[in-house]
Symmetry: C2
Subunit: 503 residues, 2 copies
């Protein structure tokens, strides 16, 4: 590399360090707000958050950054892969913001915050009409923004690309179509099964402190490093990271229920292990973050479902910890417990769905979002379309909008294109698993011994360490040697659930 480029790279990295430090401060203050802050501090805290957000925004859209981007675009071929990704990522984020007129963006932010309030009220009062005028305007804004950003083939592609680079309607119609048909078919088979699972046998009182102990035990098993992280509590579980040395998870304990906190913790633990595994060398490149929402979700779901809900791992956890901690389960046989954990039951609420039906909830949202941006559905028709699709794919129908179209907050602030990541995470995860099994032939034995660290090590080397250097599609190809293929997830589900339901 030329001397001049090298010096310029160091300058850019210093600049990014300031961005990263500002972001770290902002994320920490936000975490504190969610987890630690006393009630009355809300207002003052918002001012601090606004101040730091503005600083970060200014850094991400400054003429100085533009100069860097232009310089490195002109010298792009001189850069190695990491630096190329760095420049591309900065450019993508710069343009995403800069192409929208500031005045329009400000109007949108104000609308979004009002829209969130309206959505909450609509959900509470169970009345879509309260939310409808806001949703209409939010959609109009998104369409206007797509106008500034440009699009290929489908307007919706631009939104998909924001969350999952390389993912398009063309790709999703294929993979989601295949997945949908397979899931609907599998679900029909299971419905005909003679096996009926009665999960009320594990209903009991599970003290918070013992659940916390189980959560910490499970995190340690899967390889989350408590010297580089924490586990706290919040209403909605989430993960945030300030660096790979400070990754914070939350969970939520319900004392009348054992499974919710356990699997929330393992899910967030998966996000956390991903962040802890990112290479130190990516500090100062803006790439010390997950490759995408979907890849992040692939890791959290890998630990939650593929590991956490597997017969082998669950058996280890049940015999070595759960039975010992909770006296009411002392005499329960594992087979029954395993079935309670993996019971399949079509339900109306996405966040409470089981491993099998979950993706159908996502596919419904994908199909509706696509129809919205293709202009194929009027906002007033959305509840009807929603309910029809639930009926068709899951065989059940919402009796009101709160348990239907109003259940998720994502559309209230314009996060269209986000939902598909959740199901893509499932697909990526199973595809990774298929390759991992070749590298780690005793994979199931490890699960059965509760020895998850070799699995975590594999994921770290193949995925985590690279941060956001590779796009999701590049990473998938690099790790598995193959493009996105829904077959692996379908096979995984078929194998697990036909065995479980003896169908």
């Amino acid at each position: 590399m030329e001397k001049g480029i090298e010096i310029k790279l160091l300058e850019l990295k210093d600049y990014i360090k300031v961005m990263e430090n500002t972001k770290q401060a902002l994320d920490l203050i936000y975490w504190d707000k969610m987890v630690m802050m006393p009630k009355k501090a809300v207002e003052g805290r918002s001012e601090v958050i606004a101040h730091l957000s503005e600083q970060l925004f200014n850094l991400q859209t400054s003429p100085k950054l533009k100069e860097f981007i232009d310089y490195f675009e002109a010298n792009f071929e001189e850069l190695d892969k990491v630096n190329k990704s760095m420049v591309e990522t900065l450019k993508k984020e710069y343009e995403e913001t800069k192409k929208i007129p500031v005045s329009r963006y400000k109007e949108f932010v104000i609308l979004a915050s009002k829209s969130e309030v309206a959505w909450e009220e609509a959900k509470e009062k169970n009345d879509f009409l309260i939310f409808k005028p806001y949703l209409e305007k939010i959609i109009e804004f998104q369409k206007e923004f797509i106008g500034y950003w440009g699009f290929k083939h489908h307007k919706y592609n631009t939104l998909l690309d924001k969350y999952e680079k390389g993912i398009t309607v063309e790709v999703l119609d294929g993979v989601f179509g295949e997945l949908r048909d397979a899931l609907v078919g599998l679900l029909k088979k299971i419905k005909k099964s003679n096996l009926k699972i009665d999960s009320s046998v594990i209903k009991a009182y599970y003290p918070r402190e013992l659940q916390k102990d189980l959560s910490l035990f499970s995190l340690d098993l899967i390889g989350f490093d408590m010297n580089a992280g924490r586990l706290d509590e919040s209403v909605h579980p989430f993960t945030t990271n300030f660096s790979n040395k400070d990754v914070r998870l939350t969970t939520h304990y319900y004392e009348d229920e054992l499974l919710s906190a356990l699997f929330s913790t393992i899910h967030e633990g998966g996000h956390g292990i991903y962040e802890q595994g990112i290479s130190d060398e990516l500090n100062g490149t803006w790439l010390a973050q997950g490759a995408s929402m979907g890849v992040h979700e692939s890791q959290s779901r890998f630990y939650e479902n593929i590991v956490g809900r597997s017969e082998e791992f669950l058996s280890f956890l049940f015999e070595n910890k759960i039975k010992k901690s909770f006296v009411n389960l002392e005499n329960l046989d594992f087979e029954t417990f395993y079935k309670c954990v993996n019971k399949v039951e079509p339900s109306l609420i996405r966040t409470e769905a089981d491993e099998l039906t979950y993706s159908l909830h996502v596919i419904i949202r994908y199909e509706i979002e696509k129809a919205i941006f293709n202009g194929e559905v009027a906002t007033s028709d959305l509840p009807r379309l929603w309910n029809e699709k639930y009926k068709e794919y899951l065989g059940i129908e919402p009796t009101n909008d709160s348990e239907g179209i109003l259940q998720d907050m994502h559309w209230s602030d314009g996060s269209f294109g986000y939902f598909p990541s959740y199901a893509l995470g499932n697909l990526y995860g199973a595809q990774f698993l298929n390759t991992m099994k070749k590298d780690i032939p005793n994979y199931k034995e490890l699960l059965g011994n509760g020895d998850i660290k070799p699995i975590t090590k594999w994921l770290k080397e193949k995925i985590h360490t690279h941060g956001a250097v590779y796009s999701p599609m590049e990473l998938l190809l690099k790790v598995t040697g193959e493009k996105l293929n829904p077959k692996y997830f379908i096979d995984y589900l078929e194998e697990k659930y036909t065995k479980l339901y003896q169908v």
Copy 2:
């Protein structure tokens, strides 16, 4: 006020808001470091702290701020009291920094950080000679800084004024001299008492959770608002505030000991109540903070000692909470418990001293600091001087430097002039008490009923609400109608301890 001045005031307040938001972020990140941060995150966190510190420093020393200061100095008489104080405070801090050449200041910061390490090593190895060369250089730097800042009568006055505006050697020689003689006399009387207090009767195992419960109970009693604050744990208890709506205390539980955490919590609670009581109207004036270190300490010690260790309040707490929480104390009579809490015993370590002897530790440090800046003592002679004074005032002598001159870290980073605040806090507190008793004649009855909120209300109205609008001396005069007078603290101690020790 002229229109031009009003507009300029609004501009200044916007500027201060940015300073305040930056400081709030910085303080929060620092609190998190002390209380929440996982071990491995130290390095990355230091970078974030350095980044925000630099931003705050730049804001506090900018040409823009200088312009504001100059403008308002030229229009000083147009301003009301709050705005006058605001301008004076900004100017004082601006000049404190700006008068020192940047290169010298940077050298000092580097020296101070090395010096802290040397002090730690010296203390651990019990060897003053390891610390001595650093201490010498630190003192030289302080003298050089006094050269830049200027001084009146005594060089040491400049350092005293940094922490306690208006306090001088002339003032302290008088009040500390009077206090010292009274304390030494009182201590002699107590030594002759026939009463020997055996505090081993309360030695027992005190579970952490029950101590925490007692701490929270006590904080609620004295009026600390948990909706605008928190109580957590850290090695050394401290208080920090991000705003009057978010004040965070820490304490430290020792399970073989009951009193340490209880009185630490009440002490920090006092600091916290002060911060919670500052008027909302002082946001954006840089005055939403305590009037001084000494006034802060007056509030923490008021709650810890004057309230917390009083016969009346302690009796309430003992009968209504302590006896019920800790079975080993169930059959203990209150009189014995009260004596254990208030046992007087000259000791070598300041932070472990009882209410009576505490100020003597501080006065010794004051006298030594004064001698240092008067050039009356060589650094190599400091241990000897220290030990002589302990012998003379407290009747005991350190057997090594770790329990003598090396015990406090304050000198290692050049915080000369800070110590007197601790004893001044005692003096202010008793002087406030004297006035309060006139306003609240049933003061002792309230204590006995555990009804502290009227007392907190009085302190809030008279002291807390004003933040840093008044200097300590102004505040004392405003509240008590009198200048600083050590008589009130001496009388308070005489009354309490001659009764307790029947002398």
